[in-house]
Symmetry: C2
Subunit: 350 residues, 2 copies
Amino acid sequence: MREVTSDSLRSLTLRSPYLIFLGDIQELVDAKTGAGLVQWCPEKVMGQFRFDDCLVDLGVSDLSIAEAKARGVKSIVIGVAPTGGRFSQRWIQVLVAGAAAGLDIVSGLHHRLEELPGLVTAAELSGARLVNVRTPVDSLPIGTGDKRSGRRLLTVGTDCAIGKKYSALAITQSMKARGVNADFRATGQTGIMINGHGVPLDAVVADFIAGAAEVVSPANHADHWDVIEGQGSLFNPSYAGVSMGLLHGSQPDAIVVCHDPTREVIDTARHLPLPGVAECIELNLQCARLTNPYVRCVGVSVNTSGLDAESRPSYLAELSVELGLPCVDPIRDGCDAIVDKIFAESVLEG
Amino acid sequence: MREVTSDSLRSLTLRSPYLIFLGDIQELVDAKTGAGLVQWCPEKVMGQFRFDDCLVDLGVSDLSIAEAKARGVKSIVIGVAPTGGRFSQRWIQVLVAGAAAGLDIVSGLHHRLEELPGLVTAAELSGARLVNVRTPVDSLPIGTGDKRSGRRLLTVGTDCAIGKKYSALAITQSMKARGVNADFRATGQTGIMINGHGVPLDAVVADFIAGAAEVVSPANHADHWDVIEGQGSLFNPSYAGVSMGLLHGSQPDAIVVCHDPTREVIDTARHLPLPGVAECIELNLQCARLTNPYVRCVGVSVNTSGLDAESRPSYLAELSVELGLPCVDPIRDGCDAIVDKIFAESVLEG
């Protein structure tokens, strides 16, 4: 077993292709991570592992461990939580067999893989890695605030869990489609699995948040865009520290605000009202100017799934007029209008 | 050896009285932590341990390990870094002898005490504790943003290392002198040593910064004041994430801004100018309103040591007129004027 630490790499790097471990889950909603992998990095997904009583199908090949190994799979990615929070004996048997076959085991769960009986020994014998994406990352630098070359876009939000990862992926896709040299930069566990590398921002030691964000989007070519997955919200009293450090370390040229018009209160603090989009833009720009005085808001990404078919277009149109910015639902409309805005703004070109 | 974790306590708790370990240091400036302990908690300091070639004297009794043990010392506090960064053999011998005698060893250094040869065994045999004040703290809760009873004051700053701990201690002293039920709340290593307990905010995992701040200043009597040691600055691009989480978790009724008029650039990012005091007040109040809409700035604490005798009073007077707030040098003037302001403001009384 080789230890996966930030000491050598500073950011996690996963080996693909993946076998997505679904175990015996019963509901698609519990397979969000696996579904995200199939949607956003189908080229990395070789197949799924399911027990006979699994009711979810991601629409990719069912593979045994031996078949996966034979086809060149490098990692088993556990994107589902075990029922009741405990790994059953048959889950453990499959993971141990995978590690023994030399496949990395990648987990986004709170449990550390090292606690599963037999797994460490199997990995040590084969040279497989046990990768806990939630484990705090050491050996990061303190943030410097120094300007790096290349362009950066950060998705921010009126709250946590409001579409920042999805929007960043959709914007990256739209940039690439028009030939822009762009990369998605992952800061959360699912984003890291999709991208194959990144730093789990919420798991770093507090003093190093901004430094970790600087590591996530290193200096690059002058016309290259990093599209960075945001975390939390400056208006979420549980996680705003992470959001602030990420904002400063990302030194974005452009921010996109993610919002849900049907959410009335902050997810983790339900006595607090959701801020308005304009207020959210203003505070993020004010704070972001510390490390990039030229930061601009280039659009709003709205989850309109809670609106009815009639009010959806009028909501987006009115918000767009109010803010003077493109406002899109990334799932229904894509993010081309936001990317148009970026490249129409001469201030961001120069 | 008993393990000191936050699992049981969530905040570190040190046992006093202390023996301050000075070793063989040559300059008073290297004994800042020890000097701070003698100044702010003389009742906790039983003596100092010095080798014959030590050139620093904190003005307290020189004690051997045996004498310290006989007089009831409970902890040896290492407040100085070893020359060249490595513990010499004679340092280690003294610490091992102290641990063998049942004295807790408390360190604010980056080195983990467990790495010193013989120390773990000595502590295990005697039941002494090895307390690494910089070690990341686990098992903290996520911040809730829920309003807690009791009053809170937080010191914030135009930069890091600008007097936030000193100011909080001086304000606590001034409050106590007028009979206010007040406690200093420590968030950094020296503050924790002075106070005997606290949470090292910069060492918690990022997701738990605000939660840790909530643990630091728990619910209290309605007329009780927590005076919370600030960390970093919203204007410091290395540490603003910690400052933001501490601001939200502290939900202060009152903030005091710490400033140094001779500092021109940010300590860890020397390409950035120091913000103005008014700007610093405004951004801190704006962000603090998320968890306490009634927050007020009640004064400015200025390090005037870099000003000459003539310009000192005029600087403070002009700043006071500009801001409409008491502006003091806490070392020269004390903080009574700030505490007067707090209790003159009916909005903070209610």
